[in-house]
């Protein structure tokens, strides 16, 4: 039994069950226990997620092409993009650190964007396929999304530690800003998607019960 069939929604603040006064997806009720607004589903989840996702794809390009940080030494300035950092560590035989940076900065954002596109299209096509797997993918995007911030923090820590004027200095590059925006936007995109939509398609549930 699903809550939507009984016209019940759970309060996001206190997990109280609230009887919804209006029919289906629109409108909200006030929780009798804690006075929070209770929605049946996140409002306009699909459109909002698409918008945030497209914006993050746009920012993802300069984030990868522009330098993340500048290393200024007496010999001159050297600029690092994400990819060049990974290659540097591979040539340096620090495979573990190359793997961490590659996973957090390149693999995770792309994976997250692809998973969300797949979820959005499958919901819009009212697909009944692989619902358990899609639910798992959504949980995965929620868990891994934050870890892309690693590269932004690394730039911050390096700037804080390396500032010996005239000798070596590290300054953040414009790419770090774009990368930060990508992380924030993909996190918002994952939050605005509603995983309950995966299970909301009536025909699938009827087929399963037969």
């Amino acid at each position: 039994m699903r809550a939507i069939d009984k016209n019940i929604a759970a309060c996001p603040t206190c997990h109280n069950l609230v009887q919804m006064p209006f029919g289906k997806q629109k409108g909200y009720a006030l929780c009798p226990r804690c006075d929070s607004e209770v929605y049946m589903r996140k409002s306009d989840a699909v459109q909002k997620t698409w918008a945030l996702l497209l914006a993050s794809i746009v920012f993802y390009i300069p984030a990868n092409l522009l330098p993340m940080m500048h290393v200024i030494t007496f010999a001159g300035t050297e600029s690092d993009t994400i990819m060049s950092g990974v290659f540097y560590f591979i040539s340096d035989k620090s495979y573990l650190i190359a793997f961490v940076i590659f996973t957090a900065s390149i693999f995770v954002p792309i994976l997250k964007i692809l998973i969300l596109i797949y979820l959005l299209i499958s919901v819009q096509k009212r697909s009944c396929m692989h619902r358990q797997r899609r639910k798992k993918l959504y949980v995965l995007t929620e868990i891994i999304g934050r870890w892309s911030m690693v590269d932004v923090y690394v730039v911050g820590v390096m700037t804080a530690l390396v500032h010996f004027a005239g000798l070596t200095e590290i300054k953040p590059g414009i790419g770090a800003n774009f990368f930060l925006l990508v992380v924030i936007l993909t996190m918002f995109a994952a939050m605005s998607f509603d995983p309950k939509l995966i299970w909301d398609i009536k025909e699938c549930n009827e087929n399963r019960e037969q």
Binding site: M1, R2, A3, I4, I8, A9, A10, P12, T13, C14, H15, N16, L17, R33, C34, D35, S36, I97, V100, I101, A104, Q132, K135, Y138, V139, E142, R146, W147, M149, V150, D151, V152, Y153, V154, V155, G156, V157, M158, T159, A160, L161, V162, H163, F164, L167, T168, K171, P172, A176, N177, L180, L181, I184, M187, M191, P195, K196, I198, W199, D200
Partner: protein, 213 residues
């Protein structure tokens, strides 16, 4: 706790919780998402853990977590220095993002936990509990101390070739704090908070009734 229904936040299935007083993890019957973990004495534990976390938070932010030696010169970094240097380079966006995710949001979370669970521990009715829990829910994904921990490790490996890296006192306090916060988060269950508030409210109302008679 009384027997109750719990709506799965992933798939909207109504799950009947018939043995709510048995400690353990409760999972959705349809999609096996984790609904919540029931641990007795959640109140006291979360309160104690967050008091410890607050103490560690002050330590972490007071002492430098890394020192870096290059050719005779030394630099120290704590959480605030990275933000100060970013602001000095006019990197407002980066500086603000790091300030919020590593200092402001974690501190607000710790303080809210202390107020919310401390007031129950000392038998007050927490005021503004709705607002506090709403803020907690909003902030949960944005406090990124665990991610910052990984970033410190990566930075150490990156810098180890350029000079000498010496981990500071606050790094150990920081690691401990990350574990304590994760531990207290795994126990957190708003349902119990509201059961508790409901009981307190009833008791207060009965007191008022008695007083009027």
């Amino acid at each position: 706790m009384n027997p109750h229904y719990h709506v799965c936040h992933e798939c909207d299935t109504l799950n009947k919780i018939s043995t709510p007083n048995r400690p353990g993890r409760y999972k959705c019957a349809n999609c096996s998402a984790k609904l919540y973990t029931y641990k007795p004495a959640m109140n006291e534990r979360i309160y104690a853990l967050n008091l410890a976390a607050l103490f560690l938070f002050i330590l972490t932010n007071y002492f430098p977590f890394l020192s870096f030696h290059v050719a005779g010169s030394v630099s120290h970094a704590n959480f605030a220095t990275s933000i100060i240097y970013l602001y000095r380079d006019h990197e407002w966006l980066l500086g603000t993002a790091i300030l919020l995710t590593t200092i402001v949001f974690p501190l607000v979370r710790i303080l809210i936990y202390i107020i919310l669970f401390g007031s129950q521990f000392h038998n007050y009715l927490p005021r503004y509990a709705t607002h506090m829990i709403k803020i907690l829910n909003k902030l949960l994904p944005w406090g990124m101390l665990d991610v910052f921990f990984l970033a410190i490790l990566v930075s150490i490996v990156k810098l180890v070739k350029m000079g000498t890296i010496i981990p500071g006192t606050s790094l150990w306090a920081f690691i401990l704090m990350v574990f304590i916060l994760a531990w207290s988060q795994s126990m957190y269950d708003p349902h119990q908070v509201w059961e508790h508030i409901g009981r307190r409210r009833k008791a207060l109302q009965q007191k008022e009734k008695l007083a009027t008679i």
